[in-house]
Symmetry: C2
């Protein structure tokens, strides 16, 4: 972007400053002024001029709070050293950009959306980037571990050092930060970025006695009305209802803020509008891959008590013979009882956003795997395969839900190996594919030879078949079951979704 | 594509020939053989070897018909001249490709999907392309006229001559075609491509006494079962039910054939599967733009008796400040009574396919404009604006449905002008935008000046305001109404959706 002014402009280049709001919308915008308190009885807000310190008041019939959020800054040791940043707003971004010279070492605390976006931006500027996350995986709450591991693989390929289960304790340095202290030891750093998350600005609402939710954001009903009927709230300062779980959540996002603002505005002006809630939809670009999610992760679904079925399905994002086709890996999570799709995750260089948005619409309306598999999605080779990635993944999910397909996740297979369990890890790809790249400890019997070579396979052992994506793995399961083998599964997603090391 | 074999291959490069089907699937594939008749009583199909002419029979418990379709070839005068082609299958494409040398003149009969795709391919090879359509617009049945006109604009920019309302009557030439005879006169041509559409191969089904639908394709129920319970049909030879209209339709497409084949296969094998129907989803790339549609067009919706509201909404396909953002124009069609979205059309260089697929999922579940506007779609600047194109369009639709926004389509405005109606055609863009490009016969009052210059505007005349996209046009309507003007509208889609000529 050439100019930060574009961020404040309409798509046709009109800058949305106070003059614009007055002339075009007839709206008074008061800047350089802090609201410090609400007198709900007198229906009055106290304002302080940030330059002169002069106090005034302004009366309201209806009040809308859109106070946003603040970066979380834990009480780390020596947090006040120079070159430790948070990033919220245009000024922060500008300062960080000035300091970020190629060759410098930057340590980013927190591998959520903001942390990863900053890691990408600074790595592309030539800095040495370390990204540290306290939790066991990056993008916690957004992705399930096996999808997060695919993203970590990509970050590492791009030169970003990724540390998980790494707790930052503080910093050392003279005037400027020099080292980061963690429970894993020290790391030298010229710059530190705190990207731990944001918390809602609720102080004024709390002081005024408005109800604060369990999420610690301002509680609102579906009309965006707070516990005071004359006061509405919207955006990063308030909570939302999750469409799938029905739970209140705090998920501050620009797209949600826009919708909530519209609802709050209509209702405050005497209209009637309802905010439908959120699905926790998230998307980001990480170097050459896209990462997206909507609805519940497997982790979240299990925590809410759902019994879930899942599928990992990698495939090209358009007809595989069309130039520019790029792979994406989908994860679908469904409720075993109802067959309803609870959530979708996707990652890869291909068109992740299309599948996520399609899933958003489907999940909003409570689509089952069956219904998802039957969507009449747009097909032409430049855009999709005749069977879109979502359709294929939903078909696999259906086969699993009805017991036809017996999958096992790569995480479970890894655990079996680590526990020393005895099973046949059967690679049914072609010899050519096997020569290129292999998973350690597997045995090769190409699918086309399987019917002829059954006698080579053990009948008293669990067999886990896989291929590149999972289709031939599933076919192997069916062939072996038909031949009387009793304990056969296929590994979800095959080599493409294997988040561990491969033999080249 | 390097090799047509890729079209017959799985995504990992396995060629799906008879050997593959036998080894991997245990399926016997008989080639070089024509099925010529069904004896439903004996449950027997007659087969003829296409080389030897030898007749055999094969018995069935369940029979699946997937006989496809044939190009329509009307009885044009001199249809048998050389260099008149239809395009169905790999061989046709190969022959046409061999003949298509740069500089030659090709005349394409029919501006549907296939006609346009061939026009693009041959124009890019340097041929002089004429695309002729009998109906008043290209892509009839797929797009409404004002969207089709935007596509025509683009085809003409790329050098394709487009003729609508042009009826081909025949051809002249010695051995090879030399001229095309139409009701508009003659056109010289070195090559002719007939792309008039396809008709289902039903002869054998008809001869066997199976029910043929009003669409002239094989009638099937939702289990893909024909009127004979032991016989199923799928793909281009049979009809489908339309999810919105409930009507039977004939819409042969690869994506539909895949889903139907799965359902027919499961049911024929004793399982239980249902085909949910189609939305008539269509997508194509035309040079630098994408064109898509799902559900009902306005034309189709009106023909089914719906009272409809529509919106035309052009906007960038991602955050306007993000490099690579490209415009798309959406058209939404809704049922005035229920607010349900009946159909979506989209065109432009941007990500049309994402909006169409999202609309597919929404329309499948009967989404209203309100529900569409609240979808928690994925937002990050590389992928979308905070308010996605679909959300913005649905918001305008809501405003129209409740009477807040009063729109008029560019087609209606044009008709008013042609009828010589007296109205003020008010351009509320900036002087800079106006200097670049203008609609003839309009008056400029930039939105920011409108409140100050009200006295310049007539109170006794209809006013139709517009801007680049339609947002400021709508704001002008609200400002003028608030100032007491009683007959104010805005023109849908503004300059970006104006399908007629512009002053530069």
């Amino acid at each position: 972007m050439a100019d930060v002014k574009e961020l404040m402009s309409t798509p046709v280049g009109v800058v949305r400053d106070p003059g614009f709001f007055k002339k075009v919308k007839g709206v008074n915008v008061i800047t350089g002024t802090r609201a410090t308190g609400i007198d709900r009885t007198a229906k009055r807000v106290t304002l302080v001029d940030t330059q002169s310190g002069k106090t005034t008041t302004i009366e309201y019939d209806r009040l809308i709070l859109s106070m946003g959020s603040m970066p979380v800054v834990p009480p780390f040791k020596n947090i006040t050293l120079q070159n430790i940043f948070t990033v919220k707003g245009i000024e922060d971004a500008r300062t960080l950009k000035e300091k970020a010279a190629a060759g410098k070492r930057v340590f980013i605390v927190g591998a959520g959306l903001i942390g990863i976006e900053i890691a990408e931006a600074l790595a592309m500027k030539g800095l040495h980037v370390t990204l540290a996350e306290m939790k066991e995986q990056i993008l916690p709450g957004i992705l399930d571990p096996e999808i997060a591991m695919l993203v970590v693989k990509h970050l590492r390929e791009k030169g970003v050092e990724v540390l998980t289960s790494c707790k930052v304790e503080g910093f050392t340095g003279a005037a400027m930060v020099e080292k980061v202290l963690t429970d894993h030891g020290e790391a030298p750093a010229d710059l530190v970025v705190l990207a731990i998350g944001v918390s809602p600005n609720t102080a004024m609402a709390r002081d005024a006695g408005l109800e604060i939710g369990a999420t610690r954001a301002i509680a609102v009903d579906e009309h965006m009305r707070t516990s005071d009927p004359a006061i509405f709230a919207c955006g990063d300062c308030c909570e939302s209802a999750h469409i799938v779980s029905g739970q209140k959540v705090y998920l501050p996002l620009g797209s949600t803020a826009n919708k909530q603002g519209r609802v709050a505005g209509i209702n405050a002006a005497g209209g009637e509008a309802v905010f439908a809630g959120v699905l926790g939809t998230t998307i980001l670009r990480v170097f050459d891959i896209n990462v997206g999610k909507t609805g519940l992760t497997e982790t979240a679904a299990r925590s809410y008590g759902y019994e879930v079925e899942t599928v990992l399905s990698p495939a090209p994002d358009r007809a595989h013979f069309f130039p520019g086709a790029k792979p994406i890996t989908l994860k679908l999570v469904a409720d075993k009882k109802t067959g309803k799709v609870l959530g979708v995750q996707a990652t890869g260089p291909g068109a992740v956003d299309k599948r996520i948005d399609t899933a958003v619409a489907a999940i909003t309306f409570g689509a089952t795997a069956e219904q998802l598999s039957q969507l009449d999605l747009a097909y032409a080779p430049p855009f999709a395969s005749a069977m879109d990635n979502l359709v294929v993944a939903a078909d696999i999910l259906k086969n699993k839900l009805c017991g036809e397909a017996k999958g096992i996740s790569p995480l479970e297979v890894r655990k079996k190996t680590k526990r020393g369990e005895d099973f046949l890890f059967l690679d049914v790809r072609s010899p050519g594919e096997h020569a290129e790249v292999r998973i350690t400890g597997t045995q090769l019997v190409p699918l086309g030879m399987l019917r002829e070579r059954l006698q080579e396979l053990p009948r008293d052992k669990e067999i886990i078949a896989f291929c590149k994506m999972s289709l031939r793995g599933y076919e192997a399961q069916k062939i072996l079951e038909a031949a009387g083998f009793s304990d056969v599964k296929f590994m979800d997603g095959g080599v493409l979704a294997w988040p561990y090391e491969l033999e080249q």
